[in-house]
Subunit: 168 residues, 2 copies
DNA sequence: CTTGATAATCTCAACGTTGAGATAAAAGCA
DNA sequence: TGCTTTTATCTCAACGTTGAGATTATCAAG
């Protein structure tokens, strides 16, 4: 059987037979790209059901899993999120307006801003995260569990080789 | 060894031990998400070196691999690209301004617009695509080839099960 | 202390995408 | 022929992100 990436490579084979040997990374990256799109779209919808953007949901879960006191600096999100500082500021701004988090100035270092999950933020996170996991499970409902594990393990090794070994 | 996703799951295990059993999809999707970001950023830079956006590069290669006469309708890009119609119109607008493609009205159906790769577009595509593949190879330079193939095969099966079987 | 360098966060214009709606042409049907 | 539905593309305001630069605070040296 063949998927969308096979079809794309098949087209290249006809039009540019000279590059076929160099297309093997496309087998991996092309599928990563397509899957990322599908999963992203689905996750976005799941978060939207709780009134939060995908990026905002990322902030919420990062705070939640950091444990008590559910407080992190803006810089911590920068390193954890793979986006730029402007995006983080924007996210926190909107989340503060929604009452999901609050900015707290630190006593020790007045450059840093601590972001704290509010009680309301806790509730939204709990509900949205449950839906998020249910959505993930739904997406993989018809996929063999062993295949998921083996493929995830393969991706882990690729990530390690690429140097993505920490939350940063 | 452990990567960023292991670290994230480790945090969840401490803070929310009740959900650990439901985190297995994260092993797959979390890594797909992170890898997509890394690869995307890299591909974006490679395309930018040739003066084209990532989305524009996608249009160029779609046209190129469609073969002679290197002409597709706007609707074909819609189905192939996983973005909305507004994005396609915007892309074609800018690419037309750059002289990469040209809009040609069809004789048979005057609703459809055919997008044709110009000679300049051909040249840019050839050069950018070569760099693109070199960049891909570079990213996977230190990764075992067999691991890449096996992981790509796993992702293909996931994509198939999710229903992404055609270019559409 | 003072000066310069470093660090953390915010500002803001530009950019690409979204998504609902508009426009216009073709197809189906009476 | 007229009328409605469908199809293809474009319009446009809102949105989140980028990326360079500004701001403010801390640190290191002298």
């Amino acid at each position: 059987m063949s998927d969308a990436v096979d079809a794309i490579i098949g087209q290249w084979a006809k039009e540019r037979p000279d590059v076929v040997e160099d297309l093997w990374p496309v087998q991996l990256f092309g599928r990563i790209q397509r899957l990322a799109r599908v999963v992203d779209k689905s996750a976005r919808a799941a978060a939207a059901a709780h009134g939060v953007e995908h990026g905002e949901f990322d902030v919420l879960t990062t705070l939640q899993r950091s444990g008590p006191p559910y407080t992190l600096t803006a810089g911590a999100f920068l390193k954890a999120s793979m986006v730029t500082s402007g995006a983080i500021t924007n996210r926190i701004d909107k989340m503060e307006a929604k009452g999901l988090v609050e900015r707290v100035r630190d006593g020790d270092d007045r450059r840093t801003i601590k972001i704290r999950l509010t009680e309301h933020g806790h509730e939204v996170t709990r509900a949205a995260f449950a839906d998020h996991l249910a959505n993930y499970a739904q997406l993989l409902a018809d996929v063999d569990r062993d295949l998921v594990d083996k493929t995830a393990e393969g991706l882990r090794q690729v990530l390690e080789t690429l140097g993505d070994t920490t939350i940063k």
